[in-house]
């Protein structure tokens, strides 16, 4: 590539990078500014006198630590549960020959076509009838067993299909049962696919918004996305300094993990059997 072409490509990339970097930068720096400076004009790119006051208030106005814990433990449970359910089903559909396998696979796959928004009204009535409204059960059970895990099962099946069969044959000859083969041989080999599914699943749960606001009503049960929108003043207007501090607190941990593990992260997503 010529020097000029290179300069042009870098120029375009830097320009395009602005809307991707600026909001996060603006969020973190503004969260450190005193309220009066947030709307200062011309806008300051760097906080002049740093204050952590808004961070402290986020924890005073709501049970924010509790809500943080709620989101963490729900996302962790959903991730582990989805990995178990989808790897078992994906393995069976890929490697076990049994009657009806293909038909059941098609039936389960239909779930991919049905966004959870379509079924939110009946799901609400079902969980209401079971006395599970304003508990975390709907946010745990539906993602693990319902439509969101169908995509995970599909990815796992694609991965298991590509595994060579010799290892399994050898294990069978050695007298290992199906579950032992799955757990001792197939699952360890499936680490890349499991990683990708884990990332997808964690982010999906971490970002859920419609489901929490439909199912949860008391603030100590809230999850983070829902809690963030509750930092409002007596007139319903947003308390910007607190909202931005709280938003920084929810965005930064995932962002830090991502920056450290970005290679595995991106490559994991790119190699989920979706290659062209």
């Amino acid at each position: 590539m010529s020097r000029r072409a290179k300069t042009a490509v870098y120029g375009v990339l830097c320009l395009l990078a602005l809307p991707f970097l600026f909001p996060t930068w603006w969020m973190v720096t503004s969260s450190l500014k005193p309220v009066g400076d947030i709307f200062a004009f011309p806008p300051t790119l760097w906080p002049t006198d740093v204050s952590f006051d808004a961070y402290a208030r986020a924890f005073e106005l709501q049970p924010f630590a509790r809500q943080y814990l709620n989101s963490m433990y729900i996302a962790a449970l959903v991730t582990v549960g989805t990995l178990a359910v989808s790897s078992l089903a994906g393995y069976a559909f890929a490697r076990i020959r049994f009657k009806g396998a293909n038909a059941w696979f098609v039936v389960i796959l239909v779930g991919l076509l049905i966004p959870s928004e379509v079924t939110i009204v009946p799901l609400f009535k079902m969980f209401d009838a079971w006395g599970m409204v304003d508990t975390h059960w709907p946010l745990i059970l539906v993602p693990i067993l319902g439509a969101p895990s169908v995509l995970a099962t599909f990815i796992m099946r694609q991965f298991f299909l590509a595994l060579p069969g010799e290892l399994e044959e050898a294990a069978k000859v050695d007298g290992l049962g199906r579950f032992a083969i799955f757990r001792l041989i197939a699952l360890p080999l499936a680490r890349p696919a499991l990683g990708a599914v884990a990332i997808f699943t964690f982010l999906h749960s971490w970002n859920l918004y419609l489901e929490p606001i439909v199912f949860l009503s008391s603030s100590e049960m809230f999850t983070l996305p829902q809690a963030l929108t509750q930092f409002v003043d007596a007139y319903g207007g947003p308390m910007w300094d607190v909202q931005l501090s709280a938003a920084s607190l929810t965005a930064l941990p995932v962002l830090v993990v991502f920056v450290i593990a970005q290679r595995q992260f991106i490559e994991g997503l790119a190699h989920t059997g979706l290659k062209g």
Partner: protein, 297 residues
């Protein structure tokens, strides 16, 4: 006795069903039963406050046809989906092609463009609603170059565009990564042969790159279209469907009807409509694959 009954194939059948049981039971309980119930509810008038549940046949569907706000919702949904898909896919492809060059720093830029994907959706949306205010950061930046920016989220003409841009920047990294993976799968000798034949870079892009990655283009477009129909948090945080009904997309309207106005029967009817649209779009895209997907792996 028992050894003869438990033949290899019987054992496999039992194992297979045990392995798929959690997923199968889950799909029935949390996908198919609720889907059936949506159709059932849509035939009923459901007053939650009075606790009445009466069969009304097609009345909700008649109401659907007569609802002037529904037309607005469909227009808003169509506008959002079309804008999102076009902007998202073209930007994702542009970024992937630029970052597929042999250049220093591509890993850094990949990280930059992908990073919003991992930022919590509501946090991201809150920051943008702050930036897009009348006296917010975007207009502050515009003013430094002498442009008087509009009140983005309160203008009928600008609110939806703002929502689309916020969503594209949030998620374009995902499609970019899928395109990058596809681009790296295109055999290099095709380009070498084309260069020998004197084909321009533009020609090579249209005649080699696009056909070779067409399965990925199809896949990302299906994911993006279906995803665009599900947009909710962004609308709820940025505009609450306003100004007027200019950003009231179908899912937001469904949420309002069912959970704010407690019209569960009508909400279920809107769910059926949403399902029909998703089904139709997926089928159309699937049929189209023969036409414009060059090869399938």
């Amino acid at each position: 006795m028992s050894t003869r009954f438990w033949t290899g194939s019987r054992r496999d059948t039992l194992a297979g069903y045990l392995f798929i049981a959690p997923q199968l039971i889950g799909s029935v309980l949390f996908v198919f039963v609720p889907l059936g119930l949506v159709f059932w509810y849509s035939l009923h008038e459901w007053n939650v406050l009075a606790d009445t549940f009466t069969f009304v046949g097609g009345e909700n569907y008649q109401a659907l046809a007569d609802d002037p706000k529904l037309a607005d919702a469909l227009v808003a949904t169509g506008f959002f989906s079309a804008g999102l898909v076009v902007l998202n896919l073209s930007l994702a492809l542009l970024l992937a092609v630029l970052l597929n060059q042999r250049l220093r720093g591509t890993v850094f830029f990949r990280t930059v463009f992908f990073s919003p994907v991992v930022v919590s959706l509501v946090a991201w949306t809150i920051v943008w609603s702050f930036l897009l205010q009348d006296n917010g950061g975007i207009n502050g930046l515009l003013e430094t170059v002498g442009i008087d920016g509009p009140n983005w989220l309160r203008g009928e003409g600008t609110a939806m565009i703002a929502v689309i841009v916020v969503q594209v920047v949030k998620n374009v990294g995902l499609n970019m990564v899928l395109f990058l993976a596809a681009l790296q799968g295109v055999p290099a000798n095709l380009y070498e042969a084309a260069t020998v034949d004197g084909a321009s870079r533009r020609r090579q892009f249209l005649s080699i790159t696009v056909p070779m990655i067409s399965p990925t283009i199809l896949l990302t477009s299906i994911i993006t279209v279906v995803g665009s129909l599900q947009v909710f948090a962004q609308i709820a945080v940025l505009t609450q469907g306003g100004p007027g009904t200019s950003t009231t997309v179908l899912v937001y309207y469904l949420y309002q009807q069912a959970f704010q106005f407690h019209h569960f029967g009508y909400g279920a009817t809107l769910s059926v409509l949403l399902f029909a649209i998703v089904l139709l779009l997926t089928l159309v895209q699937w049929r189209m694959r023969r036409k414009w997907v060059f090869h399938e792996s």
